[in-house]
């Protein structure tokens, strides 16, 4: 905080005032934390019986690690599908809409229109709603157990994130200098070739930090699978809390796992952003320090997401 638009460099008087405020703030913060800890302690939440299970391999082996695997598997599949689908959607939406009445033009118009409708709808409908619906359909057809929950979770996540990724990439293309596509066309590339070979690679590189940040959103959203009986971290760890009666301890451990993973990813996104900037590229913001609601704030993207 050496230079800030909010505060000038402090003089001696301001420094004394800051020190005083710092002490008061520290005391208030410490008092709040102490109150929370004390409250929890009076309810026996730090009893060793509630935390001992985490020192035993079976708790990790049978509940937490399989749950973590469930979370990572769903996230990984969803990210791959969303990326493929998102790039396809972006390509469709980047092509200029053909005019005329030839069957090809009408077909292309229809496809572009469907792509637009898909993006708008999957972004407007909550992910959980899509998961519940898909799970409901699967369950009515007898696939409520087995792979049903995984399919519902992954489908909900990939539908939503495909449209987010599509818009991130479109935003990235929008940031490129106009000369890029003009140059592509002038050396005789078709419009499709220009998009595929010139615009997309640059846009994806530029938006890499945003795309990496989107991984955090996907990871967090796997927890929604809890509601469709998918064996992610929360759902898979629930029987362990029935066994040991330690819901609080379990929630703390699971939260710590999520925070550790997501914090690491957000650091990666920031690092990539700095790398790209060092190479003199303009980039889309990585979430942590640049942009609050994530990549949807990229230019040309109106609606947002923050699940």
């Amino acid at each position: 905080m050496s230079a800030s638009v909010l505060f000038d460099a402090p003089g001696p008087k301001a420094r004394r005032r800051y020190a005083l405020l710092g002490v008061i703030g520290g005391v208030v913060f410490a008092a709040i934390m102490a109150l929370v800890v004390w409250k929890l302690a009076t309810k026996d939440q730090f009893a060793s019986a509630k935390w001992k299970p985490f020192a035993e391999w079976s708790t990790w082996h049978s509940y937490i690690l399989p749950g973590l695997r469930g979370t990572l598997v769903a996230a990984a599949i969803a990210i791959v599908i969303a990326l493929v689908l998102g790039v396809l959607l972006a390509m469709l939406r980047l092509l200029s809409v053909p005019t005329g009445n030839s069957p090809k033009a009408i077909g292309l118009r229809a496809v572009t229109w469907i792509a637009t409708a898909w993006v708008e709808l999957t972004r407007a409908i909550p992910v959980l709603l899509m998961m519940l619906f898909i799970f409901g359909v699967l369950s009515a057809n007898g696939h409520g157990s087995g792979n049903g929950p995984l399919i519902a979770t992954v489908a909900g996540l990939s539908f939503y994130n495909s449209s987010v990724i599509c818009e991130v990439i479109r935003g990235g293309v929008g940031q490129l200098p106009k000369g890029q596509s003009e140059a592509g066309r002038s050396i005789g590339l078709t419009e499709g070739q220009t998009v595929r070979q010139i615009l997309l690679p640059q846009a994806i590189t530029a938006m890499l930090p945003s795309l990496i940040s989107q991984v955090i959103v996907v990871l967090k959203d796997t927890a929604l699978g809890y509601n469709v009986l998918y064996g992610e971290l929360l759902y898979n760890s629930k029987p362990a809390t029935s066994l040991n009666g330690n819901i609080f301890a379990m929630l703390v451990v699971i939260a710590a796992i999520y925070i550790a993973i997501n914090y690491a990813i957000s650091k990666l996104a920031t690092w990539v952003e700095h790398r790209l900037q060092a190479r003199g590229r303009t980039t889309g913001p990585a979430a942590p320090d640049g942009d609050p609601a994530g990549p949807t704030n990229a230019p040309g993207v109106a609606t947002g997401q923050a699940v």
Partner: protein, 226 residues
């Protein structure tokens, strides 16, 4: 169709979703502003508190936060947010716990939206204000805050849209909002599934699309041209 309204109380659910959105939006605006103040303050320890808050709650799934509100705040610590002899105690308490969870989670996004508003202001603006002799209060009032709010409009609006959609997570602790309709239908009457998804989906499109359009327009109008 009619049973969707009579047996599954879709209006009640919609009203719960709307109230959840409004209360949580107000709550997270207040809490988010406080956290942003901490994060932007020149005092190290306060900045640390604000930054930790954001790092902790932004990296935790909302599902987990809302579950914690029910399991930790209420079940373990015995904190109740409603009159415990009220026959509707469980519903009211659950609803308010969900508002707390939504507020805690979305406050981080409000904080970051406000912060990004300040981050868009070039340092020269503040230096210019100081060099023409404006006091701290004048600098804030006349130069910094107006620009910061304009820069924060779009991210704040996006947070509101996300918050509206995220109210669906409240079903995890049994709040009867719109996604609870779908969950109940799945268990009791799968024949109604398509229809209820259609109705609930359309409601969300009606709720969020205009917000998106309005935010886009407003964002363009107030954008600071640089």
């Amino acid at each position: 169709m009619s049973s969707l309204f009579s047996d599954y109380h879709i209006w009640t659910a919609l009203w719960a979703t709307v109230r959840l959105t409004i209360y949580s939006a107000i709550g997270s605006l207040v809490l988010g502003t406080i956290v942003a103040t901490l994060r932007l303050s020149p005092i190290g320890i306060l900045r640390f508190v604000g930054t930790s808050y954001v790092n902790i709650f932004r990296n935790t799934p909302l599902t987990l936060i809302i579950l914690s509100c029910s399991f930790v705040l209420y079940i373990q610590l015995g904190i109740t947010l409603a009159n415990s002899s009220d026959p509707k105690f469980a519903d009211v308490n659950g609803f308010r716990l969900a508002v707390v969870g939504m507020t805690v989670y979305h406050a981080t996004y409000v904080c970051e939206a406000l912060r990004s508003g300040f981050n868009t202001i070039p340092l020269g603006q503040a230096e210019a204000a100081r060099s023409i002799g404006l006091t701290f209060g004048q600098t804030m009032r006349e130069v910094i805050l107006p620009q910061a709010f304009r820069g924060a409009v779009v991210p704040l609006g996006n947070t509101l849209i996300a918050l509206t959609k995220n109210t669906t997570v409240a079903v995890t602790i049994g709040v009867y909002e719109l996604s609870a309709v779908l969950k109940t239908v799945t268990e009791r009457d799968p024949g109604l599934l398509n229809l209820s998804f259609l109705v609930v989906g359309v409601i969300f499109v009606i709720l969020t699309l205009p917000m998106g359009v309005a935010i886009g327009r407003l964002g363009n109008r107030v954008a600071v041209k640089r």
